[in-house]
């Protein structure tokens, strides 16, 4: 099968998965035991007002029509309005998604770079005390309870030492005063550092261990022995011969890590009151703001699907041995 056909078949697969997932979401929200409008309606409301709200959310239509409307609205980017405040769900999600992507991509890239560099180095020193120490450290942080580490950092660096703000993404007083762009960026970075460090500390371990295992397998290959026999420098063998080939499995891990990083984002955003999509889905669910929950969940799923797809393509492109 050629590369083009492989990509095409993956695209078709992903579209099918997308429709199945969206249908699952649709069904989930239609089996809600309680009436979703009950959270909108206060007892003082008139019957007409209640009816108008049912009408607005299409709850009077038969289920098939609702299903059709659901997809139609989805492709028009229309997820309805939030039960609270009445803002368009799409606008809320757009804004929150950007905030999340800003935090998560910075964090993933940083932990990726640190993890790979350290992993490479410790695989080379197989069996040494340094290796054992870093493996232990990586494992400990990898299995650490995310919100707890976040709270610890907040307690030490923000509450005790007053180095960083206690949460949020911006200081509104600073932004209202109409500051220069540099001041705005500084304020943003000031808020970003603590959640970012938490993220990187928690996630570099996973990449590091993966890189180490992958390196250890690569180091047993014949071409490493050949490189040694040729008398190449140790550093060149490590960086140019072994590490490049060891990177392959890490690419696939990247896609999985996107899905994991969403779990991390939900928890870290909640601890640091970061106005991202993860915190949005938690708050919306707690308030039973169903249009917002449904929209946020759909968008998160789509992001994960696209990430998986890109990793597949990257992998196929990087490794000529792969049979599609």
């Amino acid at each position: 099968m050629s590369m083009e056909r492989y990509i095409l078949s993956r695209v078709i697969q992903i579209i099918i998965i997308f429709f199945i997932v969206m249908s699952i979401i649709f069904l989930l929200f239609r089996v809600i035991p309680s009436d979703p409008t009950s959270f909108l309606l206060t007892p003082s409301m008139t019957a007409e007002a209640k009816e108008a709200i049912r009408e607005q959310f299409g709850l009077n239509e038969p289920i098939i029509t609702q299903y059709y409307l659901y997809f139609k609205n989805f492709f028009h980017g229309n997820f309805g309005n939030s039960f609270y405040g009445g803002r368009s769900v799409m606008n809320i999600i757009k804004e929150r998604m950007l905030n999340s992507i800003f935090l998560v991509t910075t964090a993933v890239i940083l932990s990726y770079i640190i993890g790979i560099t350290v992993g490479k180095a410790i695989a080379w020193k197989r069996g040494s005390k340094t290796e054992k120490f870093f493996v232990g450290l990586g494992l400990w942080f990898y299995t650490m309870f995310t919100p707890w580490l976040g709270i610890l950092f907040l307690w030490i660096f923000a509450f005790k030492l007053h180095l960083f703000p206690l949460g949020g993404m911006i200081t509104s007083e600073v932004w209202i005063a109409n500051p220069s762009l540099i001041e705005k960026i500084c304020d943003l970075i000031h808020h970003l550092i603590l959640p970012l460090i938490t993220y990187v500390v928690l996630w570099f371990g996973g990449y590091m261990l993966l890189m180490r295992n992958s390196m250890l397998e690569t180091l047993r290959e014949d071409y490493i022995i050949t490189a040694r026999a040729k008398g190449l420098k140790e550093k060149d063998i490590r960086d140019k011969h072994a590490a490049r080939n060891a990177l392959l499995p890490i690419v696939t891990a990247f896609a999985i890590s996107i899905s994991f990083s969403i779990t991390g984002a939900v928890l870290i955003e909640t601890v640091f009151s970061w106005p991202g999509i993860g915190r949005t889905i938690v708050e919306a669910t707690l308030r039973q703001d169903y249009p917002l929950v449904q929209g946020a969940f759909a968008i998160i799923t789509i992001v994960v699907l696209i990430a998986n797809f890109m990793a597949d393509i990257a992998y196929a492109y990087l490794d000529p041995r792969i049979s599609y």
Binding site: I17, I32, F145, P147, I151, R220, I281, V282, F297
Partner: protein, 294 residues
Amino acid sequence: MKKKKWKLIRQIWDLIRGSTFIKLGVSIIIIFGIMAVFSPIWVNRNPEIYDPIIGVDPDVHGSEGPSLKHPLGTDYIGKDLFSQLLRGSQIAFILGIMVSVLSTTIGTIVGLVAGYYGRIVDIILMRLADIILTLPRLPLLIVISGIFGTQSNWIILLILSFTFWPTISRVIRSQTLSLRERPFIESAKVSGVGNRRIILRHLAPNVLPITFYYLTVTVTGAILVEAGLSFLGFGDPSNMSWGMMLKWCFTTGYVFKAPYWMIPPGLCISALAFSFYLIGVGLEEIVNPRLKKR
């Protein structure tokens, strides 16, 4: 027969002794095991004060620091934090191990069946696994818990297992695919052994090391995800897990004032998750010859 059993126990013992990772992991688990067993003893001395859910100390107002009566202090309404911590270790063990056993069993069976039968069975099962894998786990759990309204640990157990089996089944499947082509399977088929017997007697024992690895690693995942759910407020309100302890500490505003309340539950979650993962890594180093020292 008895001799054989002893030999097996000796073998497991040697395995544990040989690996630093497994030794450390097992030691931590034993500490938490003692905590879980000690829980009813501590509570039953005086359930009215020490019960982790309904017990309240009438002499305490607000959260107070550690004392002789309450070794870890009390929470915002005067409940004993030490008994909550002990109860939490029971829940973490029960939930973690049950999720792990359930999802590893399903994952292994699905992987074996998909890999052995191939064709349409394989396609259907693996696409199903793909779909579940692409669903973001924590948001999915949040949404499901939100929809069911009243959460119970049983629902959490079921949906956790539901999201954990696909990873395992994919690995087992790829292993089965390569095993299927080996001569001993061929000869079993030729001599007329039934499909079910081939899977149970010839394939299953060969994938067992992987199953054991996932058995331990899944406990870690389950403990962390359950704690995360409880921390976010989607836990079983009729019980007190570690995640929920941290949640109450966080939401009642004691998080920076009461380190005696904030530190223990998070430390316990991390340590227990760590210990099961260590055993998994130790097993991996033994089973995967490619990771052994040159």
